[in-house]
Point group: C2
Chain length 189, copies 2
């Protein structure tokens, strides 16, 4: 975890919330978050209304980086087929990291079990943006049913990241052939 | 929740652990579990070594019913293709219930983030048994690569149950065509 003395209390709290909830779950206590961030509880509550708001802000702050890591560049001259495959190659690469525990935006929704929680709302939007990218590429690539293909790909994305996160399986030799079958069945270029 | 006065403290604790952890998550406190079960903490610790052991026992106790709900009968004269589809029809049916929050055996592993936790071990075994069923049917049905097909089907199973659990999607119009594409691609009878 970043403990750079030059980072602000706000940045340290966001970093602690992201790191500790990913590693230990959303039930992590305010005391543990403040201790890891080196910030007093009083300061925390001056910066964030509640632990819920801190968690939501930490997910929001990482959303752009998360999307940038997964998605190809806007105009990379590759086919929609290849651009979709890029997303899954990136997932496979992330899943290879020893501290990978699955997609944090899926996990937080499963753990919170409350779709109206501010952090669930942030997570849902991030995943909806990913679905939107896949749907646009599916349409661009002439998929017979772009909506269905995007839903299928998200199902594979979340299934693969969940199963890799709990060490039930690994994307190696699994993700690529599965996505390829779905893209082919949809008639994707 | 069952509050049948005739059920034993042990049964009431198992029921409370299953119901409350599914609804609220594994961080649910011992006090809340004992209160829901109408059992003192002292009695709980006489029956179970720890909350972890209670959680593991509650998952174990429901495992047979879970498998029975999902799997077809042993000799139902249907093709392996149909028998695999049966599992996903059952999942779709479960996911239609208003209190569905995804597969409890997946959720508990994601939430605990500790594969050596006694409850994670129970959950992993239950899912491995499901994978084993799918693999055996895949082989029976002449799938070109039964291992790969079983892994693909579990990926779809967990992805669909997770996404239905967080209300990101529903299996309707999604699960059946996705499984069909994978079975066809594997050359399943």
């Amino acid at each position: 975890m970043t403990t750079d003395a030059k980072s602000s209390p706000r940045e340290r709290l966001l970093e602690a919330a992201a790191t500790l909830t990913y590693r230990d779950g959303v039930a992590i206590g305010v005391d543990a978050l403040c201790k890891a961030a080196g910030v007093s509880k009083r300061s925390m509550y001056q910066l964030f209304e509640s632990k819920d708001e801190l968690l939501a802000a930490s997910l929001e702050e990482r959303a752009s980086a998360y999307v940038a890591t997964l998605l190809p560049e806007a105009d990379d001259n590759r086919s929609p087929h290849e651009r979709i495959m890029h997303v899954f190659d990136q997932l496979a690469s992330q899943a290879g990291a020893p501290d990978f525990q699955g997609c944090r935006y899926l996990a937080v929704q499963i753990e919170l079990k409350d779709q109206s929680h501010p952090a669930s709302r942030v997570a849902r939007q991030v995943k909806a943006n990913l679905t939107g990218f896949l749907r646009a590429e599916a349409e661009q690539g002439g998929a017979s049913d772009p909506d269905l293909l995007a839903r299928q790909l998200m199902l594979v994305f979340d299934g693969a990241s969940a199963r890799a996160g709990i060490k039930a399986d690994t994307p190696t030799g699994l993700l690529e052939p599965t996505v390829a079958v779905l893209l082919d069945a949809a008639g994707m270029r």
